[in-house]
Symmetry: D2
Subunit: 337 residues, 4 copies
């Protein structure tokens, strides 16, 4: 057991580093690990900004090590099944992507000003924290995002400092009083995008949706059919097929717990569900397998960089009130995809 990451990276008996330090340290640790010849699994989002992400991508490429970003929701069996159905042609040409990622944990105005609500520590609010998941899924399932327009909102500007009692706060909290601080990240983000393939998409990320504890939901509409997924019911996938006979068309709820479904054959008998942690187990298993076999693994750092490019373009749009083109991605050494 090491408590110093530098000591860990220096060890000879370790082949893989999982970078799960705070986001602002991702680049430092990941680059050091790559330089030490370790394969690198990095928690999401890949980095605080595109510059860091590009440096990380350059480092792993230079070192020739395997790299993966833990956008863990790709490893939900139902989402892998969604990808399989798209690849089978069951959705056809995609017209619409719709994503929401809603939580409700800061509705109470007395919720304190934790680090999540300060730009210098968190980079951004739900736009980065939650939309990073949704944008990765959109790239995985619907295609590459080309242009973005974004609108953000702040609902509560001042919050009590952590440790300040609610009573004190209620009694005397003024803006800029010693017990109060300013929220410097957005409370919610709405994005509209165009994909390279002509589809359009919407994203909504918020921490102000009462009753939505962790609602990571997407819908995909295409020329042959449609898909819908909701993390609350992560063992289910909804499919509509225009190829069914007309009188029996309808959204069907596939219980993704059969041996024929992705990952499921390794778990329980039919009809027995799995939980959130299995997404991490699947990611680790896939990454180790990819290292062992030399096979492909996604999302890699290039995919992670692309997510950040979209999120950054969106914040630029929110600031300017204009649609923004997502920058094409070039690394010093010709990063592309």
């Amino acid at each position: 057991m090491e408590s110093d990451w530098r000591a860990l990276v220096a060890r000879d008996d370790i082949d893989v580093i999982d970078v799960c330090v705070p986001q602002a340290l991702h680049a430092t640790v990941a680059i050091a690990a790559a330089e030490a010849g370790k394969h690198v699994l990095c928690e999401k989002p890949l980095a605080l900004n595109q510059a860091d992400a590009k440096a990380m991508l350059a480092a792993v490429r230079q070192a020739g090590v395997r790299h993966c970003v833990n956008h863990n929701y790709r490893r939900v069996p139902a989402i892998q099944l969604a990808k399989q159905l798209i690849d089978e042609g069951r959705i056809g040409r995609i017209f619409h992507w719709r994503a929401t990622y809603q939580q409700d944990w800061i509705i109470d105005p007395e919720f304190p000003l934790t680090w999540h609500l300060q730009r210098e520590h968190a980079g951004s609010g739900p736009h980065g924290d939650l939309n990073s998941h949704s944008v990765d899924l959109a790239h995985f399932l619907a295609g590459r995002i080309e242009t973005v327009s974004c609108l953000t909102a702040s609902f509560i500007d001042q919050r009590p400092l952590p440790g300040v009692g609610a009573a004190t706060f209620a009694a005397g909290a003024q803006a800029d009083s010693p017990v109060c601080g300013k929220v410097t990240v957005e409370d919610a983000s709405l994005m509209h995008v165009r994909f390279a393939n002509g589809a359009i998409g919407s994203f909504e990320a918020t921490r102000f949706a009462a009753g939505r504890k962790n609602r990571n939901r997407f819908e995909i509409y295409g020329s042959e059919g449609s898909l819908a997924f909701d993390l609350k019911r992560m063992n289910e996938l909804e499919l509509y097929s225009r190829n069914d006979p007309e009188h029996i068309r309808g959204f069907r709820t596939i219980l993704v717990t059969e041996a024929c479904h992705p990952y499921v054959g390794r778990w329980w008998p039919p009809g027995h569900t799995i939980g959130y942690e299995h997404t991490f187990i699947h990611t680790v298993a896939d990454f180790v397998t990819a290292i062992h076999t030399g096979g492909a693994i996604h999302p890699d750092f290039s995919d992670g960089l692309r997510v950040i490019a979209v999120l950054e373009a969106a914040l630029e749009s929110a600031a300017s009130g204009r649609q923004i083109k997502v920058s094409s991605i070039h690394s010093p050494e010709g990063v592309s995809s």
Copy 2:
């Protein structure tokens, strides 16, 4: 029975005119009816553009007649209940409005170029046809919209002319060939808005969502609770309350079929549902009652004008790629609300 609307308007034995001619004729008929001293019920959207809508509003005010726009979904009992719950304070300060209105009837590329798909006849596509409903509901339930950004999409540019056989089309259809015509309205529209009260909102209208036959759905999130409605299940309303004890909070599905619910006491025993046409019956009943009692009736032409102002601003945004402020509404005689 009259087949000439002018004859109808001229009759002495008629007090109320229901304007259900094509949208491009709304202004002509409604103004004539008002000038003849008739109370006017007008199908939605009120007019093709703000100029017409303002003229209509001026006419009914000048004539001193009652006026109403048939945004019929306000008369769904579950939606009236939503309004009641908001007025009771059960939702609190509103943070988010989310609306979708999805259909799927023109996904087939061989669906012909009917009048709905030509700007000169229809004004716009789902943006006007469907979003007019959603914007009216947003004004009713969430507040006044102040700024808009919008993105529209066209998925299928050319379609066979009506009456052209599918075989002919498949065999020889070229762009601009005699059997083909150009689609001149949008196929889908995405809007983001800010409300005067600080809330933000999203709207999506499309005819390309496979499996969504007529999905008029909205969600409202506030500081005390949340609401969700889906027209497919028009006798139901979902409510989440942050004021429930913590361990039993959850979205509850209210079956809006009790005598204590709006309109329902006039229909069946508990648990028996009503259908789409009842929204029209309720509208007519409410309008006639308002005429009889002199009580208020909404949405009136002023409300209808406000919907059109939002939709026009959105199209301006879609064309320019910029956020647009919704014009404030002034009539020659100081129309306001």
Copy 3:
């Protein structure tokens, strides 16, 4: 307008009588109508007992008039679609029928002793009132019931007489006191049955299921697929097909609002729902059409009699604690089916 049914039956200008008097009078009125040469539509259940039902059947047969029982739920489009899917072979050999019909209107112990709760007026409680619907649907969709076992329950024995104030009741109500009366029908009924085709089935009828306002639900399981219906969402039907590819099997929710669905082509565009009263409209339309064309109409009095035979056998089972065979149905003139 006639207020005396005998005068109505005697009129020459009337061809069809709809018997919607209290159940105890069905036989008298229906037989008189038949003898006067009228076609007869009779509300459900057909009669208080088999003897009456047989007499009614004999009368309409003797008179040569058309006859129909208004088990109106057969005329829900989704239920007609269920029948169609069964006839198409999509369900295969039927193994299981499951029906529940739950209400909750007499849970309050202060709900008064209305006529519904007295055997001499109502015949029975939910067993007759609600299970008559479910048994008719079982005969329509799953096959003929051969044996029955039944268990009934009484939860509240004494209730205040109608018009007795709640305060009086709460203060002084004793069993057999002047303000109280005895409930003489069952509060709930559970039935298990075997069908002639080897399937088994369950039925549950109650007025003590809090939150179930009028939950008329059934499920059918067969060798090829399954069906589920819930009246609360009467425009929907759930279908599972074992003939779908294995990885995309799931219960699909068919929105029964397309022109290709039973009855729907006569109503609204796709996706627009209908309500409870449409079941009555469909029944009347079908009956009048059958009279006009001479075509078949079901459920007729023979079907209605069969429902009553099952319900009577069940009550005999409940009294004896034994399985009971449903009597085969013979009329004086050889009634059979």
Copy 4:
């Protein structure tokens, strides 16, 4: 690692034995473990019959060791929450229990005659395998069952022997041919019960419900409210409360993933679901804690015996066509509860 259970039971360094051998061996192993002074956790159902179960209960009592039956579904957080809500009085006097446990894995007539389908190996079919779960939950949540009536069904009598190719079977399988064998357990079971507290209940267990992979569902209806649970969505519980204001009553879906919910505080942040295996983890944790603290643990062998008494009475009812009283439970040494 021991491969001989006798060696395991003899070891001094082991305090707890988990009996997960086939059911026919439960009694032998559990009694030996108890006699060796081990605490015993036994998989469900406790034993093949009441005689064995009583001997097991006597053995653990004599030895003074702790004992537990792994009816694991009691440890689903949502089911513990259901118990808590009942104990809080939110359901009131219970009127109805409804349980279904449906699977679909032997619908195919070519599914082979595995040991599950032979009485000498499996004791019974879904009646024992699935209803044992449901009966334990009924005892936990609704009360003690007093009388039972039961109906069983066999849909497919002959099946190919394991290892016989489908082609051979299809070509030449005759009843009693060398490639075929007789199914000697029931394919489905329906039970009706009366509880000691006056409630009534229904149970349905089957392996012939197409599309129901592992549908362990129950509903409870009481004087104050109702509950519903479905294992497919094991992180959810539905609650209806008659104590809500009338116009906002409805079934609410509680997402049982908050820190205030049973077990959940030890797992993920709000809104993150857990899976099937967590029920086993919770059972082991609770059993070890009970051993450590001396606190109560249920279901114990006495509870396990009571389940078996109900199942046996039901089979007696199925054979005789009569309602059967569940035997009161007396051990040689006065087992009771």
